[in-house]
């Protein structure tokens, strides 16, 4: 541009000129002038306005910018980056099973693909605009014109550069005069305003640059030297924690124990057992209950259940009939061991016992009979008691107790 300007300046025989600058009062006047200059066939010219003037693009013959294509390319690049980044990191380089999902499933990756497309497009829009506009553009001959400072407030300008092939000192001036500008001046080609930094800025920047080197110097020193001191632990990373470690005293609690007792009165879920009749076989007065609790409804099913449970838990000692002649008793007698045979449950004493007491014996054991409360659910214990009552009855039965049909079969 400088070369062209200097040849133009030399041809016109004056000092180096950048071009002719005309000022207008209103956007309308500028549009009208622009049309004239456009029609005169100038190419190196421009208008300057404080805001985008509606309709000036057509008046100046500005062609549609290629910026949207740049943005499209950036957007596609962002989209591709989103796909590639997620596929490569999560499906190839660091494949990791999460909730049994496939390594590569597009729906979960859409948000990031979308965001990266937008990010790349927007970056392309801003930086593409700046690049196409030649910004940043620190210094310009226009800066030498005092009146031009108003361009960012309320003034409108038109500049025809002397580098334009059609530029002619007199003709161009005449053309601009016809557009009735509010003012006109010849713009010298120059370095623009003094754009050197003030001295204190330079010093400040030098000092800052030197200070910025200090951390790097310290790092280099640390890498080169050896030290007998442990390294600085600037970031704790939870390396020291007041917690219990196996085989050591626990410093968190005053008694140095890690296992804590539950709070007094703690009851586990569903273990309140506040129904004495059902859980302990007792009435409210503390005596053995003579009736089955209301939860236990006699039925064939329950009796079958009792039979089965009795078979599992009781028969090894008490035998199938409850007479105390179970497998274990037989074996003990075979090998001649000292053995107290289990009680015959058909015993008159047991026959008279309330059901609550039988339930208690099943639950908590008696003499060398172990407690079964921990192994058998309460309802099953009641089922066993019910079956025991049936056994007792059968051991003391008369012919009249049998149904008609069975009586006949016995005869």
């Amino acid at each position: 541009m400088n070369e062209k300007a200097s040849t133009a300046g030399a041809a016109s025989g004056t000092a180096k000129s950048h071009g002719l600058l005309a000022e207008y009062r209103t956007p309308g006047a500028l549009i009208a002038a622009s049309k004239r200059v456009r029609d005169a066939g100038y190419r190196h010219w421009d208008t300057y306005t404080p805001f985008p003037v509606h309709g000036i693009d057509r008046a100046m013959g500005i062609k549609m910018t290629g910026l949207p294509w740049i943005v499209l390319a950036c957007g596609l690049l962002g989209c591709g980056t989103g796909i590639w980044l997620q596929w490569w990191t999560n499906a190839v380089d660091y494949a990791w099973i999460i909730s049994g999902k496939p390594f590569w499933s597009l729906p979960a990756n859409v948000p990031v693909i979308f965001e990266l497309s937008v990010l790349f497009s927007a970056t392309g829009a801003l930086f593409g605009m700046l690049a196409l506009n030649g910004l940043p553009h620190p210094s310009h001959p226009l800066d030498l014109s005092a009146r031009f400072a108003g361009v960012t407030s309320d003034k409108f300008f038109l500049l025809i550069q002397s580098s334009d092939p059609r530029f002619d000192e007199r003709e161009t001036r005449a053309l601009l005069q016809e557009t009735e500008p509010a003012g006109m001046e010849e713009l010298p080609e120059g370095p623009g305003l003094d754009d050197r930094l003030p001295a204190y800025w330079t010093y400040a920047m030098v000092i800052l640059a030197v200070l910025a080197l200090v951390p790097f110097g310290l790092i280099a020193k640390a890498r080169a030297e050896k030290s007998s001191q442990p390294r600085l632990h600037a970031i704790g990373d939870m390396d020291w924690q007041p917690k219990f470690k196996a085989q050591r005293a626990n410093l968190v609690f005053a008694d140095h124990r890690a296992m804590r007792l539950p709070v007094e009165g703690t009851v586990a879920r569903g273990e309140l057992f506040d129904d004495d009749h059902f859980y302990r076989g007792k009435t409210s007065s503390g005596a053995w209950a003579r009736t089955f609790p209301k939860q236990v409804e006699p039925s064939d099913e329950l009796m079958q259940r009792g039979n089965q449970r009795f078979g599992i838990y009781c028969t090894p000692c008490h035998g199938q009939l409850g007479d105390g002649n179970g497998m274990i008793t037989q074996r003990a007698q075979d090998i001649g061991q000292v053995w107290v045979p289990p009680t015959n449950i058909a015993d008159e004493r047991l026959h008279r016992q309330p059901v609550g007491q039988l339930f208690n014996t099943v639950s908590r054991g008696l003499r060398n009979m172990p407690a079964y409360g921990a192994q058998i659910e309460p309802m099953d214990r009641w089922a066993i008691v019910m079956y025991v009552r049936a056994l007792q009855r059968s051991r003391h039965a008369n012919l009249s107790d049998l149904p008609e049909a069975d009586r006949a079969s016995l005869k």
Binding site: T26, I62, T123, L126, H140
Partner: protein
Amino acid sequence: MAIWTEANPFLDPPAGENSFSRITHNVTRVAEAEKPPKAWFIALGISSTMLAIFGISIAYVFWNGIGSWGNMHPVMWGFPIVNFVFWIGIGHAGTLISAILFLLRQTWRTAINRFAEAMTIFAVMCAGIFPGIHVGRPWLPYWMFPIPNQMSMWPQFRSPLEWDIFAVGTYFTVSLMFWFMGMIPDLATLRDRATSTPRRLIYGILAMGWRGSSRQWHRYERAYLILAALATPLVLSVHSVVSFDFATSQLPGWHTTIFPPYFVAGAIFGGFAMVLTLAVPARQFFGLKRLIAIRHLELMNKILIATGLMVGYAYGMEFFISWYSGSPYEGFAFVNRAFGPYAWAYWTMVTCNVLIPQLHWFKEVRTNPWATLAIGIAVNVGMWFERFVIICTSQSRDFLPSSWGYFIPTPFDYMTLCGSFGLFFTLFLLFCRYLPMVAMAEVKAAHPDAHAAHAQAHAAVTEAARA
């Protein structure tokens, strides 16, 4: 009460020989005045104190760990995530005003778009801090970014929390670029009017040599349009992605498909309330009543009613769906919200967000700046409580009654919350003082004088065609 009675030079009519230069003067005199109004100093004093509280509380939390906050099983998200969602929502109105209203050709937006955009930037900055400090080990959040590392590990892109990183990161970057690009011509105005070297240098660097060339304006306007078109789906995606943090979980009260639109509507609602909260004092103290007129406040108040009703609808629909789903856990979560231990927060939310904005149906209320300010503040409170209700009630009582709990914030929770407002207002006050608070170039382009000549030319052409 000297601040009300003192002679405020910003209240004088702006000087200038035409409407364009009057607009220039009206806006630039705030940045060029030797002394801003006393109210500005008082506000800056308060906000920078709050900012100091922010610094202290974060330093304390870093040193002692996040146990300093009330975050405790079962409410592990607590205030930090409530604040994160609150601040990210505030930002949305700025983008809505600058992008969506631009695409809809709503020229009245030019009065408020610049500082609404600034509000967006500062709000997203506040928001971005919270997930970073909430992770507990502030030297490790870089793990959330896909940076090659010695562990040979990569972030998990199937996690909504990872989507958040990209959504919020993109949102901040794009908002910042949009804001900065919009300011380039106005920074050039400040550069050209600068009388001292430092001002000329700083504004000059920021303006990048903008001289208002029409060939540059052409590309600039195209870029602005493209950025607006990109920011529109972006802003809708950001709060949708934030809502996925909740919606993709299994927790009753979170696991719901209404969240994305509900969050976006709430964000715009809360953001507009914040714009109004900032605009009313700013126009009062900086003499911008000619640029930010009552008409603009009224239009924003109408948007406030509309979005407030959307939010109210969402509250109702959540209840309906929790019953309609037939899930006892969902049903319990919502009954517990309204009538459980957090009922006070729920009804604060309903009052502030649904009931109070209904006052704007009266023209006297929506054209009164101080009523506008009061209702704006109420909505901000309500929107904070909305996030509190969503996070704390759902986490405090989930499937297993044995793990129920009640969230009790500590003083550090309140300090961090109050401090984030300090950061926001400090940045905003500095912006008011040192950057062009109103988009001058856009206001001028929307001014009737910018079109008068053009209209005449059109008329002449039509006349000629007729003849």
